[in-house]
Assembly symmetry: C2
Homo-oligomer: 243 residues x 2
């Protein structure tokens, strides 16, 4: 892990850009923390530059609870090298959505599974590197991003002790089949009237998780209209499980 | 409204039992309030005596936010005169549940609609009487109880400005049809693995409400196992809308 920049932001937040095996990322730590902090990995739909304002907002909010946050760019997104295969299947998706035809399970598999396979090892390597820093002590939680990535990570990475998920993306059937093996506490946000979201699949996935503590919170307001109080409720979820 | 007892409980809560046109009820007010307070009506499944410990817990919690709370006994429940018709249909329900047969829409109608018709005017009369007290200023919210009663009250009583609902009881089709006319902010709790609950109906009802702000929070833990954090989240809902 190589730090490539270090900026002290207002509100006592230290922002450091890094690269890890060629993957760019950002680490935010509360500058005034006197002991190693818990860590929340911030998922996103790809394109850290485009998502930066919202990621920073989530980082600031977590820092007020004394938590470090970090994110990395997704495969084939942002400034990372593209993938002809990923471009091709994304173009297919756009054609299907434009035509009004249903998005088939096969298309969802080809769209999401390669992303999960490529991204999850990178997030695990990021956990390795961040927990090696003296200022990061754990425990580790994951928040948001593609729910398929979040589900796989929650299933296979025991250092992730809690996950806040956002039910706003496609879920391959094989990921749904993994859900019963997820047993950590979950807080799942669902935008009820999100047109780009398959509500039935989101409810099926929530139902399938094996966790004894799982909360589904559904709100109105469309894909990007998560109300402020829902963010605060999610923040309290992390406070309960990271302290 | 006649007060029949007055008790100062620890935690500076004043508890007064009352009767209103023969309906017994309880009013809890923060004893130290210096100005007229908002009011939360506490719904319940019937049997105030049996429900008293949980009702008192909800009253204490609301009083910490500076809110008065009140409840009345449901028709044909607790110490109120019974109804042969209500006893008959309840016995039918028990037979149906024992036999494992599905609970028909007709049975739900005969079980719930007379209760809604009888109870809602009593809750409205209670609002009238409580708002006439100098220590109660409004606004008024409704919390819990049979969701069919809560839905009807939210639809027809404009003084109820917000409702916390508990999706844990039968919903007649005609009440589902009223839901689009409910437009106040809603916070709906659903116990996801509640065996006595029809989850599909609960989701349909949540979907049908006309409110621009509505939140569904689903948790694990069975009918009576609402986690403490869910109660706190509901408390914040009332704080947002009653202040």
């Amino acid at each position: 892990m190589h730090f490539t920049s270090e900026t002290r932001l207002d509100g006592d937040l230290l922002e450091r850009e890094f690269t890890l095996d060629g993957v760019p990322g950002i680490l935010w730590t509360p500058a005034t923390a006197s002991e190693p902090t818990p860590l929340i990995l911030l998922g996103h739909p790809g394109g850290v530059g485009r998502m930066y304002p919202r990621l920073l907002g989530r980082a600031r909010s977590a820092a007020r609870s004394g938590f470090a946050t970090a994110t990395i760019e997704l495969p084939w997104a942002g400034d990372r090298p593209g993938s002809p295969a990923a471009r091709q299947v994304r173009a297919e998706l756009i054609d299907v959505l434009d035509s009004g035809a249903p998005v088939t399970d096969d298309l969802v598999d080809r769209l999401i599974l390669p992303l999960v396979e490529a991204a999850v090892p990178e997030w695990i390597a990021t956990i390795d590197a961040l927990l090696a820093l003296p200022e990061i002590g754990g425990p580790v939680a994951h928040s948001g991003g593609a729910i398929a990535i979040a589900t796989r990570l929650a299933r296979i990475e025991p250092r992730v002790v809690a996950a806040g998920m956002f039910a706003g993306s496609y879920v391959p059937r094989s990921i749904l089949a993994e859900a019963p093996q997820v047993t950590i506490p979950l807080h799942v946000l669902l935008q009820w009237d999100d047109e780009g979201n398959d509500r039935r699949m989101a409810l099926d996935l929530f139902d399938a998780f094996g966790s004894a503590e799982k909360t589904l919170q559904a709100n109105m307001g469309g894909h990007t209209g998560v109300p402020a109080f829902a963010g605060e409720d999610a923040g309290r979820f992390f406070e309960r499980h990271l302290r």
